[in-house]
């Protein structure tokens, strides 16, 4: 019977690839967790998913031109993701079409383009890698990329925090004081795309969305106030990464999905037991005050 040390720490002590994977999870959690909270607060939860598909043609094009180069694919994915985000954002601002509809339209076009590019040349194995990643094969450049994006993301959020919160809460007010809400919203969309491509090699873009949204959704059930939600979301995302890696190691499961399933478990537990609006809390009758 293995003790807690063998269960919880030994895999990381023994294997370099496990340590790298853990560091990658740390970076992704710091970056994606808070971004996910704002996506939820802005009721854009599905936009993350849309964007993860939208970056595909960029990465595919880069793959066709430069082969399997992480840098090229990251830059390509980022540029195309950015283009989709800016176009969809502009369509939303300038026409009566709502944000979800314009994002849906553009990501579908982008996805179809990507699939076309991949099928013209290249094999489906590479595509799978792109969508689902391989966290146990993270190398140094990938770690540096994840860490840089996480740092940039957190710093940017700190700088635009007030404007972003007001733009999420009461965009009409920001317009009435000429607060340039669109500027901050676009900057936030840039952060979303950046964090998605950060997860390219480690989790793949699809699984990165999981790390972005699930801990953030769980945070809503445990915390009141935006600050605590941001912290909870980042910490929970990292905890899910750690637990997920252990599960994948001990049960010989693919690591990316194991991490996201762990996050899914956390989400399910939060929905049932969460202090703020969890199912149990709303069905139990707590004693009430006199006034």
């Amino acid at each position: 019977m293995p003790g807690p040390y063998e269960l919880l720490l030994l895999p990381f002590v023994e294997y370099g690839f496990m340590r790298r994977a853990l560091v990658a999870c740390f970076g992704l959690a710091i970056g994606c967790g808070p971004v996910g909270v704002f996506l939820i607060l802005r009721r854009m939860s599905l936009v993350g998913d849309a964007m993860s598909h939208a970056v595909l043609p960029g990465a595919a094009l880069a793959f066709l031109l430069f082969g399997f180069s992480l840098t090229a694919m990251t830059v390509g994915g980022f540029l195309v993701g950015l283009a989709v985000a800016l176009l969809a954002g502009s369509v939303t601002r300038l026409t009566p079409l709502r944000e979800d509809a314009s994002f849906a339209a553009l990501f579908l076009i982008s996805l179809a383009l990507g699939v076309t590019l991949v099928s013209v040349q290249g094999s489906s194995v590479d595509l799978m890698h792109l969508l689902f990643g391989a966290i146990l094969a993270v190398d140094d450049p990938a770690l540096v990329l994840v860490a840089s994006i996480a740092s940039f993301s957190v710093l940017t959020l700190a700088v635009i925090y007030r404007a972003l919160v007001i733009e999420c809460l009461d965009p009409g007010f920001l317009r009435s004081v000429h607060g340039h809400g669109a500027r901050y919203h676009f900057l936030f969309l840039v952060l979303v795309v950046l964090n998605l491509v950060a997860g390219f090699q480690s989790l793949g873009t699809l699984m990165t969305v999981g790390l972005m949204m699930l801990p953030a959704a769980a945070a809503r059930f445990w915390t009141a106030g935006i600050g605590p939600m941001l912290v909870f979301s980042a910490c929970a995302a990292f905890a899910c990464g750690y637990v997920g890696l252990l599960v994948s190691y001990h049960a010989s499961l693919p690591s990316g999905p194991a991490i996201i399933l762990t996050a899914g478990g956390l989400y399910a537990v939060s929905v049932v037991f969460g202090r703020h609006g969890g199912l149990l809390a709303s069905y139990m009758r707590a004693p009430h005050y006199q006034r």
């Binding site: 009721r43 635009i160 809460l169 009461d170 007010f173 009435s176 000429h178 915390t223 106030g225 935006i226």
Partner: protein, 252 residues
């Protein structure tokens, strides 16, 4: 006390949706320090007028000129704030949003501003509510919070769009007292209202519109039976095939 009061001139203003006018060739002025009620039937263009005044709608014709202040120095309380009431933010932070013109996106919310927010909450009768989440407030309490936000905006011009809808008498009285206090500070007040008794009791000036201008001046002279009947008649149905308006060409 404010040293400078601001006035707003409306010059041949037309605001249109799909080229159909909601406000049609409106001319007049809200004088500095005046307190005006805008009255008219539903669809008369009252809200559209306010939105054009604060720059949220682009006039189809004509212009709005603000003298003594910048357009974004106007405090505007919309009829239905697009505000997400489930948003996890506390009352004090919501009120502090009013400091945007001074703090901007990056400036500090100083201790003095924090104190002013608490003072504003005190003034709207919400002392002790500062750390409550906005989702836990009643409609009336939340309207008080929005009034506190208007208060810290410290604006020379304040536009209120049906501020007392679905608000009980006591809250209405409290908030009306606040509006009088602002007026006493030489701020220019414009409020869209439906309760004519309320308008007669509290607002010296009235603008009566029904797409077109019906009357604008002292409340007693404007809210006559004759004018009110004209306003009701003019709020006719939407005409998909209305001919193009040529008032502009005639005037030019």
């Amino acid at each position: 006390m404010r040293a400078h009061a601001a006035s707003i001139r409306i010059d041949n203003l037309t605001v249109a949706y799909d080229r159909h006018p909601a406000v049609h060739h409106l001319c007049g002025a809200f004088e500095a320090g005046s307190m005006t009620a805008i009255v008219g039937p539903n669809g008369a263009g009252k809200s559209s007028l306010l939105k054009a005044m604060v720059g949220l709608l682009r006039p189809a014709e004509g212009r709005v000129d603000v003298t003594g202040a910048l357009m974004h120095d106007i405090a505007y309380l919309p009829q239905q704030a697009e505000l997400d009431r489930q948003f996890p933010i506390c009352v004090a932070d919501t009120v502090a949003m009013g400091f945007w013109r001074r703090s901007g996106a990056f400036g500090a919310i100083t201790p003095a501003m924090r104190a002013a927010s608490l003072e504003a909450l005190d003034a709207v009768g919400l002392r002790g509510f500062e750390s409550r989440l906005i989702g836990t407030l009643s409609v009336g309490q939340f309207q008080r919070v929005l009034f506190a936000r208007v208060m810290v905006q410290d604006a020379p011009v304040i536009l209120l769009d049906e501020p007392f809808n679905a608000i009980d008498t006591r809250t209405t009285d409290d908030l009306l007292a606040l509006v009088h206090r602002w007026s006493g500070e030489r701020r220019t007040i414009v409020a869209v209202l439906h309760d004519l008794d309320q308008v007669r009791r509290h607002f010296p000036e009235t603008l009566l519109i029904s797409r077109e201008l019906i009357g604008w001046g002292a409340t007693g002279d404007t809210l006559t039976t004759d004018n009110l009947q004209r306003a009701r008649r003019m709020s006719e149905a939407w005409d998909e095939h209305a001919p193009l308006c040529d008032v502009a060409q005639v005037q030019a």
